[in-house]
Amino acid sequence: MEALLAPVETVAAFPLPELAVAVPSEEAVAEVLGEDWAFVYRNRWHLLGGAAVTVALTATSLLLGFLAGFPAGAIETYGSGYSRSLVRKLGVLLRGTPILVIMIYAFFVLPIGIVVGPVVAVLEGLDSLLAPTPLAVPAVGEAFVAATIALGLRSAAYQSQIFRGALASVGEGQMRAARSVGMSRLGAIRHVIVPQALRRSVPGFQNEFTIVLKDTSIAFAIGLGELLKRSNDLFTQQTTAVLEIILAASLIYFVLTFGTNRGLDYASERYAIPGEGT
């Protein structure tokens, strides 16, 4: 179950371009900052590889969360009868269960193999297509798939509420106006309501992004080699360096959340409707 996605070796083996600035030697780091920071520095690619898994897991979970959460929000807003009540109940169930519990279900109870099989087949197919190039599709393991399912479904349950709120916030009059020019209900939702709702859901989505990114650390519990798991591997090796390692991991988490939030801020300003405040 080790190194389930993008093993460090792949990252390290990839020929890095010569850097213009000289990379400091481990001895230099040890001399200035001490032996424990030198240990962190020596294992930087191991940590960064974990960060890559964290980023990949965040992306797949948010994607699954969006693909399931957006329709769920639409069904809660526009659906009727059974579909709506079923979606609501599923949402309540998922939001009411601790993420760690969901993850353990996903990993130990769900027949993940059935899901992993086709996923791996697709990825291997992609990999063979890429074969003449230096690019490679990283191997995906069961823990990664289980973590994606757990974080993705939980995120869908929350994203559905973001989109439900955003769809409902687009005034009734927009629908009437769209219908009055002869658009169907579905056409009105698609061309008038959804474009406005998506813009309004950006702040909520920003929150959700941060939460999912941080909660990828819970995949530690099912042994996925993400950033926290790898930090743990390191400080069990050198127990004097716990603070240094966890500081480094925290810094990486912070850069990821802060950087992406800034990016989303920029995007929401860029795509804001002129004349309207964001």
Binding site: G173, Q174, R179, S180, V181, G182, Q196, G275
Partner: protein, 260 residues
């Protein structure tokens, strides 16, 4: 297209060229009867102004005409098309009838031009360039050619409502419905909207207008219908209703809005 060819209410027998026929329409919300046996006919080229206290059913009647609201009983015809028939496609009805709203309801995420082109492209299946030309024509018609690229939030209330009118006109409606088009606007902004509406009157557009703007009613209407508590109390040419109403209720209503 001029008023002369269409004739006026004074020199023409009513019902000679009916475009819209409303027969015994009833509508209730719960136990509240909003429309009780409303019947009326609007001839092609006519401008019918609906007045009445709030809650009298004027807006509901307009919404029944383009099926944004379904009637409980009674029938409405647009020429030979029975609007209220269950097998009639509401989208076909709405394609032939334009509507302008009190709360304007421009699509906030689209420019003035795209507000107009959306229906042309998605409902009429026009290609983009053709729709653009058509939209610019309609925006020019309401005096907003220079604001085609502005978003609704960048326009004044009066400009927004004129875009709303252009959006409806672009679909080439046979009938235009106006639901209190100026009541959300400041008086000085109302005037530019009323000017566009008066221009439409001159072009011979058939219109049903819910409004409290008595100046418009006096100048542009061929007929005035006074509704109260879901019933048509009185109907006639503007002069008669303003100066010489048959009913006490009508007189009292006009008296009350005169002092607004």
């Amino acid at each position: 297209m001029s008023r002369e060819t269409a004739g006026t209410a004074d020199d023409r027998e009513p019902g000679t060229d009916p475009l819209l026929r409303i027969e015994d329409v009833r509508k209730s919300y719960g136990s509240e009867e909003v429309l009780r046996d409303v019947s009326m006919t609007v001839d092609r080229g006519d401008v019918e102004v609906l007045v009445g206290p709030s809650g009298s059913g004027k807006s509901t009647l307009l919404q029944c005409i383009n099926r944004l609201t379904e009637v409980d009983s009674g029938r409405i015809f647009l020429e030979d098309l029975e609007i209220t028939a269950p097998e009639t496609d509401p989208n076909e009805v709405r394609g032939r009838i334009g509507m302008v709203f009190q709360d304007i309801n421009l699509f906030t995420h689209l420019t003035a031009r795209k507000n107009v082109t959306l229906g042309l492209e998605k409902v009429r299946g026009m290609d983009r360039e053709e729709a653009r030309l058509r939209a610019d024509e309609e925006l020019d018609r309401v005096g907003l050619a220079d604001q085609a690229d502005s978003y609704p939030a960048q326009l004044s209330g009066g400009q927004k409502q004129r875009v709303g009118i252009a959006r409806a006109l672009a679909m080439d409606p046979e009938l235009m419905l106006f639901d209190e088009p100026t009541s959300a606007l400041d008086p000085e902004l109302s005037n530019e909207v009323l000017a566009v509406m008066e221009q439409l009157v001159e072009e011979g557009m058939t219109m049903v207008v819910v409004t409290h703007e008595m100046r418009f009613a006096r100048g542009g209407a061929t007929g005035i219908t006074f509704l109260d508590e879901g019933e048509i109390v009185e109907r006639g040419p503007p002069e008669t209703l303003f100066e010489n109403p048959d009913h006490e209720r009508t007189a009292r209503f006009f008296e009350s809005i005169r002092h607004d």
